[in-house]
Amino acid sequence: MIAIIDYNTGNIRSVINALQRIGADDVRITSDKELILSASHVLLPGVGNAAAAMEELKKRELDTFIPTLTQPVLGICIGAQLMCESSEEGDTRCLGIFPTPVKLFPSSLALPDGQRLKVPEMGWNQITSLRSPLFTDIPEGSFVYYVHSFYPALSNSAIAETEYGFPFSAALNESNFYGTQFHPEKSGKVGEKILRNFLKL
Protein backbone atom coordinates (compact mmCIF):
# COMPACT_ATOMS: atom_id res chain seq x y z
CA MET A 1 0.00 0.00 0.00
CA ILE A 2 1.20 3.48 -0.93
CA ALA A 3 0.31 6.35 1.41
CA ILE A 4 -0.08 9.91 0.17
CA ILE A 5 0.12 12.20 3.17
CA ASP A 6 -3.03 14.31 3.43
CA TYR A 7 -2.41 17.69 5.01
CA ASN A 8 -4.88 19.85 3.13
CA THR A 9 -2.50 20.97 0.43
CA GLY A 10 -3.53 21.57 -3.17
CA ASN A 11 -3.68 19.19 -6.05
CA ILE A 12 -2.89 15.62 -4.94
CA ARG A 13 -5.29 14.29 -7.53
CA SER A 14 -2.58 14.44 -10.20
CA VAL A 15 -0.25 12.33 -8.04
CA ILE A 16 -2.95 9.70 -7.54
CA ASN A 17 -3.70 9.67 -11.28
CA ALA A 18 -0.01 9.23 -12.13
CA LEU A 19 0.38 6.35 -9.66
CA GLN A 20 -2.69 4.68 -11.16
CA ARG A 21 -1.30 5.11 -14.68
CA ILE A 22 1.81 3.15 -13.70
CA GLY A 23 -0.30 0.41 -12.16
CA ALA A 24 -0.26 1.20 -8.44
CA ASP A 25 -3.78 0.31 -7.38
CA ASP A 26 -3.63 0.47 -3.57
CA VAL A 27 -3.13 4.17 -2.93
CA ARG A 28 -4.47 5.81 0.26
CA ILE A 29 -4.69 9.49 1.04
CA THR A 30 -4.32 9.81 4.76
CA SER A 31 -2.94 11.69 7.74
CA ASP A 32 -3.43 8.65 9.99
CA LYS A 33 -0.06 7.73 11.47
CA GLU A 34 -0.76 4.01 11.88
CA LEU A 35 -1.80 3.76 8.24
CA ILE A 36 1.24 5.76 7.08
CA LEU A 37 3.52 3.49 9.13
CA SER A 38 2.05 0.42 7.42
CA ALA A 39 2.68 1.76 3.90
CA SER A 40 5.48 0.38 1.73
CA HIS A 41 6.08 3.83 0.22
CA VAL A 42 5.03 7.30 1.34
CA LEU A 43 4.51 10.41 -0.79
CA LEU A 44 4.47 13.98 0.47
CA PRO A 45 3.11 16.13 -2.38
CA GLY A 46 2.23 19.78 -2.12
CA VAL A 47 1.55 22.99 -3.95
CA GLY A 48 1.10 26.51 -2.67
CA ASN A 49 2.84 28.23 0.19
CA ALA A 50 5.58 26.52 2.26
CA ALA A 51 4.78 28.42 5.46
CA ALA A 52 1.09 27.50 5.29
CA ALA A 53 1.93 23.90 4.37
CA MET A 54 4.31 23.62 7.36
CA GLU A 55 1.52 24.85 9.64
CA GLU A 56 -0.79 22.16 8.27
CA LEU A 57 1.83 19.48 9.03
CA LYS A 58 2.23 20.83 12.59
CA LYS A 59 -1.53 20.84 13.17
CA ARG A 60 -1.54 17.11 12.50
CA GLU A 61 1.73 16.54 14.46
CA LEU A 62 3.21 15.22 11.22
CA ASP A 63 6.24 17.53 11.49
CA THR A 64 7.82 15.36 14.18
CA PHE A 65 6.39 12.12 12.79
CA ILE A 66 7.60 12.25 9.14
CA PRO A 67 11.35 12.36 9.95
CA THR A 68 10.95 9.11 11.96
CA LEU A 69 9.67 7.13 8.95
CA THR A 70 11.91 4.30 7.74
CA GLN A 71 10.28 3.27 4.42
CA PRO A 72 11.05 5.21 1.17
CA VAL A 73 9.48 8.68 1.36
CA LEU A 74 9.19 11.00 -1.67
CA GLY A 75 8.49 14.70 -1.32
CA ILE A 76 7.32 16.51 -4.44
CA CYS A 77 7.67 20.27 -5.03
CA ILE A 78 6.56 21.95 -1.78
CA GLY A 79 6.77 18.48 -0.21
CA ALA A 80 10.48 18.36 -1.08
CA GLN A 81 10.97 21.93 0.15
CA LEU A 82 9.37 21.02 3.49
CA MET A 83 11.96 18.26 3.88
CA CYS A 84 14.72 20.89 3.66
CA GLU A 85 16.24 22.93 6.50
CA SER A 86 14.37 26.18 5.99
CA SER A 87 12.49 28.21 3.38
CA GLU A 88 12.70 31.87 2.54
CA GLU A 89 8.96 31.67 1.86
CA GLY A 90 7.51 33.11 5.06
CA ASP A 91 10.92 32.59 6.74
CA THR A 92 9.87 29.05 7.59
CA ARG A 93 11.71 26.44 9.63
CA CYS A 94 11.17 23.12 7.83
CA LEU A 95 11.65 19.43 8.69
CA GLY A 96 15.46 19.54 8.41
CA ILE A 97 15.85 16.16 6.67
CA PHE A 98 18.03 17.71 3.94
CA PRO A 99 20.61 20.22 5.26
CA THR A 100 19.57 22.62 2.51
CA PRO A 101 18.06 26.11 2.46
CA VAL A 102 15.16 26.90 0.07
CA LYS A 103 15.53 30.29 -1.62
CA LEU A 104 13.54 32.63 -3.88
CA PHE A 105 14.53 33.05 -7.55
CA PRO A 106 15.63 36.61 -8.30
CA SER A 107 13.20 37.92 -10.93
CA SER A 108 15.62 40.60 -12.12
CA LEU A 109 18.14 38.13 -13.53
CA ALA A 110 18.92 38.40 -17.25
CA LEU A 111 19.77 35.26 -19.21
CA PRO A 112 22.69 34.98 -21.65
CA ASP A 113 20.29 35.28 -24.63
CA GLY A 114 19.09 38.64 -23.32
CA GLN A 115 15.71 37.32 -22.19
CA ARG A 116 14.50 37.77 -18.65
CA LEU A 117 14.47 34.96 -16.06
CA LYS A 118 10.75 34.46 -15.53
CA VAL A 119 9.54 33.72 -12.01
CA PRO A 120 7.89 31.28 -11.39
CA GLU A 121 10.01 28.90 -13.41
CA MET A 122 7.23 27.24 -15.36
CA GLY A 123 7.90 24.52 -17.89
CA TRP A 124 10.31 21.79 -18.87
CA ASN A 125 13.94 21.89 -17.80
CA GLN A 126 16.79 19.38 -17.80
CA ILE A 127 18.09 17.27 -14.94
CA THR A 128 21.81 16.54 -14.90
CA SER A 129 24.45 15.00 -12.61
CA LEU A 130 22.00 12.18 -11.90
CA ARG A 131 23.31 10.05 -9.05
CA SER A 132 20.65 7.87 -7.43
CA PRO A 133 18.65 4.69 -8.05
CA LEU A 134 15.70 7.09 -8.38
CA PHE A 135 17.11 7.90 -11.84
CA THR A 136 17.85 4.36 -13.05
CA ASP A 137 17.50 4.32 -16.87
CA ILE A 138 16.83 8.06 -16.96
CA PRO A 139 19.23 9.68 -19.48
CA GLU A 140 21.34 12.66 -18.39
CA GLY A 141 19.67 15.85 -19.58
CA SER A 142 16.13 14.46 -19.55
CA PHE A 143 13.39 17.08 -19.34
CA VAL A 144 11.05 17.29 -16.35
CA TYR A 145 8.24 19.71 -15.53
CA TYR A 146 8.72 22.55 -13.05
CA VAL A 147 6.41 25.11 -11.49
CA HIS A 148 8.12 27.00 -8.69
CA SER A 149 9.34 30.35 -7.45
CA PHE A 150 11.50 28.90 -4.66
CA TYR A 151 14.31 26.37 -5.10
CA PRO A 152 16.47 24.12 -2.89
CA ALA A 153 20.05 25.39 -3.13
CA LEU A 154 22.85 23.12 -4.28
CA SER A 155 23.62 20.75 -1.45
CA ASN A 156 25.55 17.64 -0.44
CA SER A 157 22.15 15.92 -0.49
CA ALA A 158 21.58 16.73 -4.18
CA ILE A 159 21.11 13.71 -6.45
CA ALA A 160 20.22 15.78 -9.55
CA GLU A 161 20.75 19.35 -10.63
CA THR A 162 18.92 21.79 -12.87
CA GLU A 163 20.09 25.12 -14.21
CA TYR A 164 17.72 28.09 -14.23
CA GLY A 165 19.94 31.15 -14.37
CA PHE A 166 22.20 29.14 -12.04
CA PRO A 167 22.24 25.51 -10.81
CA PHE A 168 20.01 24.31 -7.97
CA SER A 169 19.10 20.94 -6.42
CA ALA A 170 16.54 19.28 -8.70
CA ALA A 171 16.32 16.28 -6.38
CA LEU A 172 17.67 15.39 -2.96
CA ASN A 173 18.23 12.28 -0.91
CA GLU A 174 19.17 11.41 2.67
CA SER A 175 18.87 7.72 3.66
CA ASN A 176 15.24 6.71 2.90
CA PHE A 177 14.08 10.26 2.16
CA TYR A 178 13.85 11.58 -1.42
CA GLY A 179 12.62 14.88 -2.74
CA THR A 180 12.06 16.26 -6.25
CA GLN A 181 11.54 19.96 -6.87
CA PHE A 182 10.04 19.06 -10.25
CA HIS A 183 6.72 17.28 -10.75
CA PRO A 184 7.30 13.65 -11.82
CA GLU A 185 3.52 13.20 -11.96
CA LYS A 186 3.38 15.77 -14.79
CA SER A 187 6.65 14.93 -16.52
CA GLY A 188 5.41 12.55 -19.19
CA LYS A 189 7.14 9.20 -19.64
CA VAL A 190 10.31 10.38 -17.85
CA GLY A 191 8.27 11.26 -14.76
CA GLU A 192 6.44 7.95 -14.85
CA LYS A 193 9.77 6.12 -14.98
CA ILE A 194 11.02 8.10 -11.96
CA LEU A 195 7.86 7.20 -10.03
CA ARG A 196 8.32 3.54 -11.02
CA ASN A 197 11.92 3.71 -9.82
CA PHE A 198 10.74 5.16 -6.49
CA LEU A 199 8.24 2.33 -6.02
CA LYS A 200 11.09 -0.18 -6.57
CA LEU A 201 13.17 1.34 -3.74
Binding site: G10, N11, R13, S14, N17, A18, Q20, R21, V47, G48, N49, S107, Q115, R116, K118, V119, P120, E121, M122, G123, W124, N125, Q126, F143, Y145, Y146, V147, H148, S149, E163, Y164, H183, E185, K186, S187, G188, K189, G191, E192
Partner: protein, 252 residues
Protein backbone atom coordinates in the same frame (compact mmCIF):
# COMPACT_ATOMS: atom_id res chain seq x y z
CA UNK B 1 18.17 25.16 -19.87
CA UNK B 2 14.45 25.72 -19.74
CA UNK B 3 12.68 24.73 -22.95
CA UNK B 4 10.35 26.92 -24.94
CA UNK B 5 6.97 25.24 -24.78
CA UNK B 6 4.69 24.17 -27.64
CA UNK B 7 1.13 23.97 -26.39
CA UNK B 8 -1.67 22.59 -28.57
CA UNK B 9 -5.00 24.25 -27.85
CA UNK B 10 -8.14 22.20 -28.17
CA UNK B 11 -11.46 24.00 -28.32
CA UNK B 12 -14.10 21.77 -26.82
CA UNK B 13 -17.84 21.64 -27.28
CA UNK B 14 -19.82 18.78 -25.74
CA UNK B 15 -16.65 16.82 -25.06
CA UNK B 16 -15.36 17.05 -28.62
CA UNK B 17 -12.75 19.37 -30.07
CA UNK B 18 -13.50 21.99 -32.66
CA UNK B 19 -11.55 24.93 -34.04
CA UNK B 20 -12.81 27.94 -35.89
CA UNK B 21 -11.20 30.72 -37.84
CA UNK B 22 -11.86 34.06 -36.13
CA UNK B 23 -13.99 32.07 -33.65
CA UNK B 24 -16.77 31.42 -36.15
CA UNK B 25 -17.49 28.55 -38.53
CA UNK B 26 -16.68 25.78 -36.09
CA UNK B 27 -15.78 22.32 -37.33
CA UNK B 28 -15.79 19.06 -35.41
CA UNK B 29 -12.33 17.60 -35.15
CA UNK B 30 -12.49 14.74 -32.70
CA UNK B 31 -12.41 13.27 -29.26
CA UNK B 32 -10.71 15.60 -26.81
CA UNK B 33 -8.89 13.00 -24.72
CA UNK B 34 -7.69 11.01 -27.74
CA UNK B 35 -6.47 14.08 -29.54
CA UNK B 36 -4.74 15.35 -26.38
CA UNK B 37 -3.06 11.99 -25.82
CA UNK B 38 -1.81 12.00 -29.39
CA UNK B 39 -0.34 15.45 -28.99
CA UNK B 40 1.25 14.47 -25.65
CA UNK B 41 2.88 11.43 -27.26
CA UNK B 42 4.13 13.56 -30.14
CA UNK B 43 5.90 15.87 -27.70
CA UNK B 44 3.39 18.55 -26.71
CA UNK B 45 4.71 20.28 -23.58
CA UNK B 46 1.30 21.13 -22.17
CA UNK B 47 -2.28 21.14 -23.38
CA UNK B 48 -4.97 23.78 -23.21
CA UNK B 49 -8.64 22.80 -23.32
CA UNK B 50 -11.07 25.64 -23.89
CA UNK B 51 -14.74 24.99 -23.26
CA UNK B 52 -16.26 27.19 -25.94
CA UNK B 53 -19.79 26.20 -25.04
CA UNK B 54 -19.45 27.09 -21.37
CA UNK B 55 -20.78 30.60 -21.54
CA UNK B 56 -24.03 29.46 -23.05
CA UNK B 57 -24.65 25.90 -21.93
CA UNK B 58 -24.25 23.61 -18.96
CA UNK B 59 -20.70 22.78 -17.87
CA UNK B 60 -21.31 19.32 -16.53
CA UNK B 61 -19.97 17.56 -19.65
CA UNK B 62 -16.79 19.59 -19.58
CA UNK B 63 -16.08 18.79 -15.92
CA UNK B 64 -16.45 15.08 -16.66
CA UNK B 65 -14.13 15.51 -19.60
CA UNK B 66 -11.55 17.23 -17.35
CA UNK B 67 -11.64 14.20 -15.06
CA UNK B 68 -10.97 11.91 -18.01
CA UNK B 69 -8.14 14.12 -19.26
CA UNK B 70 -6.53 14.21 -15.81
CA UNK B 71 -6.53 10.45 -15.47
CA UNK B 72 -5.22 9.77 -19.00
CA UNK B 73 -2.74 12.51 -19.77
CA UNK B 74 0.73 12.65 -18.21
CA UNK B 75 1.62 16.29 -18.95
CA UNK B 76 0.17 19.50 -17.48
CA UNK B 77 -3.05 20.90 -18.87
CA UNK B 78 -4.93 24.14 -18.55
CA UNK B 79 -8.69 24.51 -18.83
CA UNK B 80 -10.59 27.64 -19.69
CA UNK B 81 -13.79 29.02 -21.06
CA UNK B 82 -16.61 30.55 -19.08
CA UNK B 83 -14.92 30.38 -15.67
CA UNK B 84 -16.68 33.19 -13.85
CA UNK B 85 -16.34 32.49 -10.13
CA UNK B 86 -14.33 30.63 -7.50
CA UNK B 87 -16.80 27.73 -7.55
CA UNK B 88 -16.08 27.10 -11.24
CA UNK B 89 -12.35 27.16 -10.50
CA UNK B 90 -12.71 24.86 -7.50
CA UNK B 91 -14.77 22.38 -9.53
CA UNK B 92 -12.16 22.22 -12.31
CA UNK B 93 -9.24 21.99 -9.87
CA UNK B 94 -10.99 19.15 -8.07
CA UNK B 95 -11.53 17.44 -11.43
CA UNK B 96 -7.76 17.48 -11.93
CA UNK B 97 -6.92 20.59 -13.96
CA UNK B 98 -3.40 21.93 -13.36
CA UNK B 99 -4.22 25.51 -14.31
CA UNK B 100 -7.25 27.50 -15.24
CA UNK B 101 -7.40 30.26 -17.80
CA UNK B 102 -9.64 33.23 -17.12
CA UNK B 103 -10.48 36.03 -19.49
CA UNK B 104 -13.77 37.95 -19.46
CA UNK B 105 -14.38 37.33 -15.75
CA UNK B 106 -11.00 38.85 -14.84
CA UNK B 107 -11.70 42.00 -16.85
CA UNK B 108 -15.19 42.27 -15.36
CA UNK B 109 -13.87 41.72 -11.84
CA UNK B 110 -10.07 42.08 -11.58
CA UNK B 111 -10.04 41.05 -7.90
CA UNK B 112 -11.06 37.57 -9.15
CA UNK B 113 -7.36 37.12 -10.03
CA UNK B 114 -6.33 37.97 -6.45
CA UNK B 115 -8.97 35.63 -5.07
CA UNK B 116 -7.81 32.66 -7.15
CA UNK B 117 -4.10 33.34 -6.64
CA UNK B 118 -4.51 33.66 -2.89
CA UNK B 119 -6.64 30.55 -2.63
CA UNK B 120 -4.84 28.18 -5.02
CA UNK B 121 -1.53 29.86 -5.85
CA UNK B 122 -0.39 31.89 -8.84
CA UNK B 123 0.72 28.77 -10.69
CA UNK B 124 -2.97 27.86 -11.04
CA UNK B 125 -4.00 31.13 -12.71
CA UNK B 126 -3.45 31.92 -16.39
CA UNK B 127 -4.90 35.26 -17.47
CA UNK B 128 -5.89 35.14 -21.13
CA UNK B 129 -6.08 38.41 -23.00
CA UNK B 130 -7.74 38.79 -26.40
CA UNK B 131 -6.75 42.15 -27.85
CA UNK B 132 -7.02 43.94 -31.15
CA UNK B 133 -5.63 47.16 -32.52
CA UNK B 134 -8.01 50.12 -32.50
CA UNK B 135 -6.48 53.32 -33.91
CA UNK B 136 -2.99 51.92 -33.33
CA UNK B 137 -3.63 50.89 -29.71
CA UNK B 138 -3.98 47.32 -28.46
CA UNK B 139 -7.37 47.17 -26.75
CA UNK B 140 -8.66 44.16 -24.79
CA UNK B 141 -11.83 42.39 -25.86
CA UNK B 142 -14.07 39.88 -24.12
CA UNK B 143 -16.53 37.20 -25.19
CA UNK B 144 -14.28 35.77 -27.87
CA UNK B 145 -13.48 39.13 -29.36
CA UNK B 146 -17.07 40.30 -29.67
CA UNK B 147 -16.98 42.98 -26.98
CA UNK B 148 -14.46 45.77 -26.86
CA UNK B 149 -13.35 47.03 -23.43
CA UNK B 150 -11.66 50.21 -22.22
CA UNK B 151 -8.60 48.25 -21.13
CA UNK B 152 -5.28 48.56 -22.91
CA UNK B 153 -3.18 45.40 -23.34
CA UNK B 154 0.08 46.36 -21.59
CA UNK B 155 -1.44 48.00 -18.53
CA UNK B 156 -3.97 45.20 -18.10
CA UNK B 157 -1.31 42.49 -18.42
CA UNK B 158 0.82 44.23 -15.81
CA UNK B 159 -2.13 44.63 -13.47
CA UNK B 160 -2.98 40.94 -13.90
CA UNK B 161 0.60 40.00 -12.97
CA UNK B 162 0.55 42.25 -9.90
CA UNK B 163 -2.75 40.72 -8.82
CA UNK B 164 -1.21 37.26 -8.91
CA UNK B 165 -1.49 35.80 -12.41
CA UNK B 166 1.07 33.04 -13.03
CA UNK B 167 1.14 33.41 -16.82
CA UNK B 168 -0.26 35.68 -19.51
CA UNK B 169 -1.78 34.13 -22.63
CA UNK B 170 -2.08 36.88 -25.22
CA UNK B 171 -4.05 36.37 -28.43
CA UNK B 172 -4.07 38.99 -31.14
CA UNK B 173 -7.58 39.02 -32.56
CA UNK B 174 -6.10 40.70 -35.63
CA UNK B 175 -3.98 37.61 -36.30
CA UNK B 176 -5.94 34.71 -34.83
CA UNK B 177 -6.80 32.16 -37.50
CA UNK B 178 -5.05 34.10 -40.28
CA UNK B 179 -1.78 32.09 -40.30
CA UNK B 180 0.24 35.17 -41.23
CA UNK B 181 2.41 35.12 -38.10
CA UNK B 182 2.42 36.86 -34.73
CA UNK B 183 2.79 40.57 -33.86
CA UNK B 184 6.32 39.95 -32.55
CA UNK B 185 7.16 43.50 -31.51
CA UNK B 186 4.10 43.57 -29.28
CA UNK B 187 5.03 40.21 -27.77
CA UNK B 188 8.60 41.38 -27.12
CA UNK B 189 7.36 44.49 -25.36
CA UNK B 190 4.90 42.46 -23.29
CA UNK B 191 7.40 39.76 -22.32
CA UNK B 192 10.14 42.25 -21.41
CA UNK B 193 7.73 44.19 -19.21
CA UNK B 194 6.44 41.15 -17.31
CA UNK B 195 8.30 38.92 -14.84
CA UNK B 196 5.90 36.00 -15.49
CA UNK B 197 5.86 33.78 -18.60
CA UNK B 198 4.05 34.89 -21.76
CA UNK B 199 2.27 32.43 -24.05
CA UNK B 200 1.82 33.54 -27.66
CA UNK B 201 -1.44 32.57 -29.33
CA UNK B 202 -3.17 33.06 -32.64
CA UNK B 203 -1.56 33.58 -36.02
CA UNK B 204 0.90 30.73 -36.54
CA UNK B 205 0.95 29.46 -40.11
CA UNK B 206 4.43 27.92 -40.17
CA UNK B 207 7.21 26.78 -37.86
CA UNK B 208 9.11 29.93 -38.87
CA UNK B 209 6.35 32.03 -37.31
CA UNK B 210 6.63 30.09 -34.07
CA UNK B 211 10.43 30.39 -34.06
CA UNK B 212 10.10 34.12 -34.59
CA UNK B 213 7.72 34.73 -31.68
CA UNK B 214 9.91 32.63 -29.34
CA UNK B 215 13.05 34.58 -30.24
CA UNK B 216 12.33 38.08 -31.53
CA UNK B 217 8.98 38.07 -29.71
CA UNK B 218 10.62 36.79 -26.47
CA UNK B 219 7.58 34.60 -25.76
CA UNK B 220 8.09 31.66 -23.39
CA UNK B 221 5.61 29.37 -25.10
CA UNK B 222 3.45 29.17 -28.20
CA UNK B 223 -0.12 27.99 -28.32
CA UNK B 224 -0.95 26.23 -31.59
CA UNK B 225 -4.25 24.91 -32.89
CA UNK B 226 -5.37 25.14 -36.52
CA UNK B 227 -2.09 24.20 -38.20
CA UNK B 228 -1.96 21.07 -36.04
CA UNK B 229 -5.60 20.08 -36.24
CA UNK B 230 -5.63 20.54 -40.02
CA UNK B 231 -2.43 18.56 -40.47
CA UNK B 232 -0.47 21.48 -41.96
CA UNK B 233 2.37 20.52 -39.65
CA UNK B 234 3.05 18.32 -36.62
CA UNK B 235 4.59 18.89 -33.20
CA UNK B 236 7.72 16.84 -34.07
CA UNK B 237 8.17 18.95 -37.23
CA UNK B 238 7.78 22.20 -35.29
CA UNK B 239 10.17 21.09 -32.55
CA UNK B 240 12.72 19.77 -35.00
CA UNK B 241 12.68 23.11 -36.79
CA UNK B 242 13.04 25.07 -33.54
CA UNK B 243 15.88 22.79 -32.43
CA UNK B 244 17.75 23.39 -35.70
CA UNK B 245 17.33 27.14 -35.15
CA UNK B 246 19.11 26.74 -31.79
CA UNK B 247 15.94 27.34 -29.78
CA UNK B 248 15.84 25.18 -26.62
CA UNK B 249 13.00 22.66 -26.89
CA UNK B 250 12.19 19.36 -25.23
CA UNK B 251 12.77 16.61 -27.77
CA UNK B 252 11.14 13.31 -26.92
Amino acid sequence: MIAKRIIPCLDVRDGRTVKGVHFVGLRDIGDAVELGSRYAEEGADELVYLDISATYEGRHTFTQLVERIASHINIPFTVGGGISNADDAERLLAAGADKISINSAAIRNPSFIDELANKYGSQFVVVAIDAKTINGKWMCTTHGGRQLTERELMSWAYEAQERGAGEILFTSMDHDGTRVGYPCDTYAELSSMLSIPVIASGGAGTSEHIAEVLTRGKADAALVAGILHDGVTTIPEIKDFLHKQGIPVRLT
